[in-house]
Structures are given as C-alpha cells and as structure tokens.
Symmetry: C2
Subunit: 246 residues, 2 copies
C-alpha cells in the first residue's frame, strides 16, 4: 500500500503529525507537496465530490481522508500504531483531539487575531496572548498529559496501553515544537512533567524515527509554521533581546 500525503512544502506544519506516523512505521509514502509542489496540493482542494477544507489530506485505498486526527485514526491500525482494544482506541482519538486543540492554541500565540493577518499586524495582542499561554494554558495541557501517563494502568510508558500509538508521536512533535518556540517557558513548565519528558525521549529513540529526524526529509522549524520562535513571546525578555525591534 502506497500512501499519498498532501501538505504544503517548506514547513513541518500539521503535515508533520502524519509524516511521523508514516516514518515510524516505515510505510511506503509520497510527500506530494515536496515531490510536485504546492500547486499539486492546492489542486486537490478544488476538485471532486468531497473536497477537503485544508491540507493535510491523505489518499490511500481509493479513499481520501482529511484533518490530522482523522488521518491518524485511519492510519493507526494500518501502521501498527493504534490500540487493538476499542475503548483504548477511542480514548486515544480523544487525546489526539486534545492535541489538536493544544496545537491551535499554540498557533494562536502568534496569531491571536486569526490566520488572516500577519504576525507583524498583531504583535501587541500576541504578547498578551502568549503571556496567558505560558502561565496558564501550557502548564494545563502538559499537566493533563502527565496525568494521563500517571493514570495509565499499563505502566505509563505510553499514553494508551502498553505500546506506542500515533498520539505518542504527536505529543512528541508538540513538545519538540514548543521547545523550539518557547525554550524558556517549556524548560520551566516541564519540571513538573517528568513522564512527558521521558515519553519524548522514548519516541526520539525509536530507530526508524531517529533515522528520519536526522535525515533531510525532516523539515526544520521556522517562522512560517505553527511553532515559531519569537523570543519576545517566550517571557522574561528585555527590550534589547527583541529581534524584531526596535
């Protein structure tokens, strides 16, 4: 089975959640945006009886599936990255949807007025939103995943059951992106989430994933994606540290 992933080239973005699953499983896939350019991704938004709202979307087995959580729900059982038990699989999908919400809030730290305006047009609002994010939302979300790991009756090495699932890979990506975007705030917040940190290490050490992370297929974080490093949003920065200022 060959999978076709449609996502914008040049950023890890939301496509990375899907890439991590495909790479970890050693699946046969083509990253259409990188292979054929953004136009090939945009075309798929226009045509057909069931148009997706936005990338990423995935084609396989004659199906087209859009939205990260929907794609991972489809891929998990096929890639050996989902619990076989129904209760656990539905719980895992709920975790994925919490990660979806978390990701949207991370994006909105630099785009509190929405995706239509540039960051430069909403820097004052972003500073306020990022402060609330660092003090309240970041600890709340990370603390939730710490609680899930602590409550897991199967040992708490993984979020669900006793094996790695797509939710673990996605939590790895979120924490990795957060470390890029908010290194100071994440260092402070993760003092209280040792299980989350151990999970991130555990994912990074998986052989196929480690090989992917070291390869040139892995796009670097940058200031066009979800996870952006604007030092002025990371707290405790003096005026002179603002790279966009004065």
């Amino acid at each position: 089975m060959r999978y076709e992933l449609f996502y914008w080239p040049g950023i890890p973005g939301r496509g990375e959640f899907v890439r991590l699953a495909l790479e970890d499983a050693g699946a046969d896939y083509v990253d259409v945006g990188r292979a054929r350019g953004a136009e090939a991704v945009a075309e798929g938004l226009e045509a057909g009886p069931r148009p997706p709202f936005a990338p990423p979307y995935l084609r396989a087995e004659g199906l087209e599936v859009s939205h990260v959580a929907n794609i991972l729900l489809f891929l998990g059982p096929r890639l050996g990255l989902a619990p076989a038990d129904e209760a656990l699989h539905r719980f895992e999908h709920g975790l994925q949807l919490t990660l979806t919400d978390f990701t949207a809030e991370i994006h909105d730290t630099h785009h509190p007025l929405g995706p239509t305006l540039y960051y430069a047009d909403q820097k004052a609002e972003a500073a306020r939103r990022a402060a609330v994010f660092r003090s309240a939302r970041l600890p709340k979300f990370l603390g939730y995943f710490e609680t899930v790991l602590a409550a897991n009756p199967d040992g708490g090495h993984w979020l669900v059951g006793d094996a790695c699932s797509t939710a673990d890979l996605s939590l790895f990506h979120v924490v990795t992106g957060l470390r890029y975007a908010f290194p100071r705030a994440v260092d402070a917040a993760t003092v209280d989430t040792p299980r989350v940190l151990a999970l991130v290490e555990r994912v990074a050490a998986r052989p196929r994933l480690a090989a992917y992370l070291a390869s040139d297929r892995r796009a670097a974080f940058n200031e066009h994606g979800i996870f952006r490093h604007y030092p002025e949003l990371d707290g405790g920065i003096t005026e002179g540290d603002d790279r966009d200022g004065p």
Copy 2:
C-alpha cells in the same frame, strides 16, 4: 441502551452538538449536568484510568468517549445518523472536525486572548478579531459547506450522501448560534450560501428535533457560552448602540 452525557449545565455549549444527535434519534439519555449538577460533571474529570481533558464526555456500553467529534463518531452509527459507506463516514468525520475548528474560531471572536481572561479584559482585541472573522473567516467556512453541498453527487440536500448525519445537525447548531451572535454579519454572509440555509431549515423541520427545540430541554443561547451576542462585535454599530458602553 442508555447514554449518559456529561456537560456543564446552563449553556448549550459544546454539549449541544451531542444533545441534538440524541434528541433527533429519540435516544434514551440522561443529561447528567442538568440532572445532578456541575459537580457530577467535574468528578468525572478527576477519577479513573483514562481521564478526559474537558466536557463533553459520554458514557455508554461500558465505554467513555470525550470530545464532540469523537462522541459523534461513536454515536452516529448507533443512532442511524452516519453513512454506512466507509469513505462517506470518514469524509463526514472530517466535516465534523472542520466544524470543530469553526466553533473554536467563533469562540475566539470574544476570547482572542484565550479562555483564561474575561471578555471585559479583552474587548479591544475582540473587536479586531471579530472584524477579521466577519470579513474573512465567516464567509470562508460557510462557503466551504456551500461547496460541499453543491458538490455532493447525491443531490446536496445533506452534507454527505442522501441522508441526514450528525454533521448536518452540527452545522445547523453552528449556523443557529451564529445567527444569535452575529445577526447582521450572518444575514450578509448567507446571501451567498442558499444551500446552507435550506439545510438549516430542513434540520429544524425534523419532527423530533422540532419538538426538542420547542421544549424546555433546549437551553437558550446566552453570554456564558460559545455563541455570544455582543452587538459591538457584529459590525456597523454606532457608539450609541454599544450596550457595554460608554
């Protein structure tokens, strides 16, 4: 089968997406927040091996399922409100996730700095975000659902296939809530989405749903939920019309 819905009492909120499905199907369910109070809802967030992040969550068949889209994915086939075809069901779940994103953006028009601060603490930011929402995001989302209806090879009375699904009920709820929150902007935007308007009428006319909407089980929209009517966010309002001003 009896379903237990856990959601905060006093607002339609995200719980309403689930209630509409249960009511439309004539399902046997208990609305735990209304029956036993908010404490009973909060308790379920604390205990157990698989804690949910937030309400709504649903218990049935010995399972617990959290997040609106996850709950509706579970309920749809059980309530006769999901396509039997796999491709169509996965497409419907993607639509539900787009409605999830749309709902979050609607919430953020009055809470652009996140859920931690009060509206009164972010009115200036809300005015900017709401303006972008009215001019760009509202037409984009409504236009997407219009396109889905127009592209549906099964006639376009419903979003997916030729029968009502939970996604149709959810779109009904979003448009109804938007009409409460942004009556002027929605009147203007829906001129271009006649199929969406017809779907909303079609859902409202379903006998069990019409009975529910006229009952006292249906909570009124208010300024504690997702869909809030702040006239100053609806565009074209003069100073004297601002009920919070001067």
